[in-house]
Symmetry: C3
Subunit: 155 residues, 3 copies
């Protein structure tokens, strides 16, 4: 019998992403909270590795840039999860994604934006990354292009 | 001792709705994911039986039309749930509804819209259909009039 | 060995708030539903003790007023939870807050608004009140300044 060891962290490294655990407490609220085997994350913003993606999507920010912004949000979600679990290998399943896009008037192709998050989760976690989701437009604080929160099941 | 058999599917048929299971995987994300005894659905749109309800509610779409649109969204949620459970009789409780209305500027009677979903759930599931909810306005993708996601407890 | 008895209700009274249980059923939907040890509340509005805070935040309503509005929403969430549990001392953990701010065009300091809710939860529940959250702008029904829903873990 062969036991297959999957390391999501190793996969993420191959994709070029090193996931450092977030500071869980920002002095006001927590980046993630666990209840039973579910983790509920705070809305994570579109900043990664010194790069910040801000602006109204469909006006200041293109769909391609916003897709990348959604990847940043996904990565920050992973940082928040790792802060609680110690390792992303504790992820059993990405359950639900709420993708919140900072839409310019008239822009409603929000799924194309949140696909950045969805694609990254599937690249990194395979079947365990397959999630349900909503991808909608609203006002995101401080003009971040995208904000994403998740529900994740852990071991 | 009498055992009362409730068939939500039979009730839905009496209401005129046949609920075929959704294709769970749209090639990108899943229409619903189960974690423990909870199902989290993806935001479901306002299309049913060949009819599509699109447009800004309060301008292009009347409250009455949007109420019907919310019923469509509810029905598509049931399709997503059935795809996971095999039968809607596995539903223990509709827990939570997030109703997202594609509002025109100045329109904020979003509860009257999401009542379409709420009423259908109570007609179909009785006490098990009584849920908590939020009904708010935002940008819904591709100009769908309404989008609704749910948390559902199953047996 | 000393057993420390924490009474969240007593703490809330010291803060000046008496939390009467909400009417759970408003005739249409429920203010909160329990599934396992999780409670999902309905979006609660910014009215408390005869005072109503309505209007677009950043135009009709100042950040300071909206901060107070978010406290009202938090208090109404506690009423909804108490209606299900009988006592707020049954709260194990405030898990997740979704803060929905009725934003005027151009206003995006939604975190400063939802801090009203966050601060109240931490004042009342201490460590058990530390939650994850998103704080975003959208259309809130009937022009309420703020609406907030929660996920709460109970004993």
């Amino acid at each position: 019998m062969e036991r297959i060891i999957v390391s999501y962290e190793a996969t993420l490294e191959k994709l070029g992403y090193e996931i450092e655990p977030a500071d869980l407490d920002n002095g006001k609220f927590l980046q993630a909270v666990r209840a039973g085997d579910l983790i509920f994350t705070s809305g994570q913003i579109s900043a990664w590795g010194g790069s910040e993606i801000k602006g109204k999507v469909g006006a200041d920010v293109s769909v391609e840039e916003a897709y990348e912004a959604a990847r940043y949000c996904a990565l920050n979600n992973l940082r928040a999860i790792k802060a609680l679990t110690g390792s992303l290998n504790q992820v059993h399943r990405i359950v639900k994604v709420l993708g919140m896009v900072n839409t310019a008037p008239g822009f409603d192709n929000t799924p194309a934006v949140i696909n950045g998050c969805t694609d990254l989760l599937r690249e990194a976690f395979g079947d365990a990354g397959q999630h349900s989701r909503s991808a909608v437009g609203m006002v995101v604080p401080f003009n971040w292009a995208v904000e994403i929160e998740m529900v994740v099941q852990v071991r």
